[in-house]
Amino acid sequence: MDDLAEFKQTYFQECDELLADLEVQLTALQEGQQDDEVLHAAFRAIHSIKGGAGAFGFERLVSFAHVLETVLDAMREHKLQPDAANLAILIRANDVLADLVSAAQGAAQPPASLESEVLAALHELAGGQAEQDDAPDEFDFTPVAATLDAEEPAAAPLNAPPTRAVAIHFAPQPSMFRRANEPLLLLRELKELGTLQVVANVDKLPHLEEIEADGAYLEWRITLTTAAPRAAIDEIFEFVIDDCDLKILDESTSANDPAPPSVAAPAPANAASAAAQVAPPAIDLNEPSAIPTEPGSRAARAPQDKLAPATIRVDLERIDRLVNMVGELVITQAMISEQASRLSVDQHAALLHGVETLDLQMRELQENVMAIRAQPVKSVFSRMTRLVRELSAALGKEARLVITGEQTEVDKTVIEELADPLTHMIRNSMDHGLEPANERLAAGKPAEGVIHLAAEHRSGRIVISVGDDGRGINRPKVLQKAVEKGLVPPDAKPSDDEIDNMILLPGFSTADQVSNVSGRGVGMDVVLRKIQNMGGRVGIASTPGQGSHITLTLPLTLAVLDGMIVRVGHENYIVPITSIVESLKPRPEDTHRIAGGGEVLSIRGDYIVIVPLAELLSTPGARSNSSDGLVVVVETGANGRIGLIVDELVGQQQVVIKSLEANYCRVEGIAGATILGNGMVAMILDVDGIRTMALERHGAARPLVTARAGELRQ
């Protein structure tokens, strides 16, 4: 097996994060946040990409990253200014870097022309510095599998020196001990090269009470009989060469080796001769008992134990199964709770206590399981920066992407589905929304357009919005197009809102010519369908001359919600707790009929539309009158509040969302279904959808498609 293959996956994952980080740092620099930490962070990101690339032998990536790194190094040492022009080059370099990473993963190689162009620019920035340390990077790596039970790596070149005696004089200085280098270990290493005769000079050893722990008092004269090349001996002393007096007299090399690595500081003049004269204690390192280094020690350590990394990668499918199982458990637990609630507290105190604990633990389990799939939206948001940059270049428009809330966490399944709709919406904003610079200036706006990409949690849902400060939706043109395409009758008099929403109709495209940026025959209807498939909604707001704002509202998870069970006639419905503001029994004098057939309720001076659920959802047996029912006031996204008329509040329960679309079909006003503790199926209300239905009914009086929720009950 390729020993490195197992790390490549980790490396590429890491690269994705590092590239996203780098993007963030470069953007921060561009926005004038030029402190050292930002530069350091950017440097580290490139450094890490390069480090891994070297290990896997991605040469092109290594050499590009190296030059980029040199430039950033110069910047963090204040030799180079991170000004706008230089940053522009870095940002292009970042794109090339990302391409090279993709190429290393097996994607198409990026065009060499772009790479060499950017590379040339970087070289110019790096100036003399890159030239200096460009070449001598010692990538002496060859991907070799670790064969640990093998002998020493091929240490016998063809013209190996003959077996000979090498005389070594070795006198440590105190600094060597301060760096935790141990002379005994060096002797042990030397012994692996051949036979060793070691004589210690203890002349300078002071009286016991004068010895300092980190003092250097010993010297050694060593005779090594070996066939190993001189380089092998030098390598042993590699780390200590500056911390000791070292003389190596090697017959095989001394003749043509005028400067052996030696004498960092002058040794006491007579040290060597003194050592020769005094009869010192001798240690024969060839005696196995003298030093505990059995030659086979390396092989002896070769273990059986397996790799056990701190993180594991798991199939999403397995997690999905886990999430489903937990969902089923929640339902079972609700059933047990319901049964238990009928028991007498006196007789079954312990059981009831247990059920209560089970309830708490169940919630915790569920939150934890969901957290496994939660990820910040950053991973998809950061990709958009590049998109905006490329589009500005392609369209010749100046634009800047402002991102907020990129740390907002949402289920991974939701994140994956977001990339396409976001890409499409940003393309639209860039292509249709933002005006060219001259037009903007004429309208009194800054030449540079702003695209705002935001995410936030709101009432248990995630709200993602793409806004621009462009020209807004051109309503006359949209209406004209819609009529031309037969999407609306020619004599229709739609409201502004309705016109704005026409861009969501299938087959709608307003671009005069199909540009290679956004008009590809598919439009916002694809976005709408995708978002609806996830149980989300699309909202459009536009102000002519000031820009448009498209909002995607999505469930945080596609699995569970806290619900209030309400009874309407013979049916139970679930209202998401997060959308409920209050519940009240209205006084007759507070409700008013309005023109068009609707009803409003005045609450503390405000008027809200009240909706008879029974009528809207065609539920039989209900009191649809506001005066004998209850009104549940719910918040509907950004659109304000409405009141739902119900017969009874049954209770609060955590419910597992089952998709209606997957099992039946999409039903307006219904977000999904669930199974209650008593085993009955109940519909989960989509309060925004209910509001739309109610307004349509009383406003435009259009035919409504409503499905009887009861039809689903088996």
Partner: protein, 122 residues
């Protein structure tokens, strides 16, 4: 014989994983840390016979980490190896000045890594 304990400090997961795999297979016990501060905490909790640390890291870089280790009596004599991408004398000297025992030049192959560790492991 108790396996020798090696603390690896690197902010790159790829590098940590590669060190982990190579060292584990050679019979070492490996403890991982993501930066200097994490390294000091892991050292407090687990101890180590050899420390391998990257230089460029967030929160606490390798140089500060080495200095902090050397200040602690218990780790004044623990071998510390630095991971450097450049084999430049400057980088090696920086580590040495802080008290590093030796260095490993990245990218390393497994054999070379083990040879260096073996060289300093008490």
């Amino acid at each position: 014989m108790m396996p020798k304990k090696i603390l690896t400090v690197d902010d790159s997961k790829t590098m940590r994983d590669m060190l982990l795999a190579t060292l584990r297979r050679a019979g070492y016990e490996v403890i991982q840390a993501e930066h200097g501060e994490d390294g000091l905490a892991k050292l407090e909790a687990n101890g180590a016979d050899v420390i391998i640390t990257d230089i460029n890291m967030p929160v606490m870089d390798g140089i500060s980490f080495i200095k902090a280790c050397r200040k602690r009596q218990a780790y004044a004599a623990t071998p510390i190896l630095t991971l450097t991408t450049e084999s430049s004398e400057e980088k090696k000297a920086e580590g040495r000045a802080a008290g590093a025992t030796g260095w490993i030049v990245k990218p390393f192959n497994p054999e070379k890594l083990l040879r260096v560790v073996e060289k300093v492991c008490p």
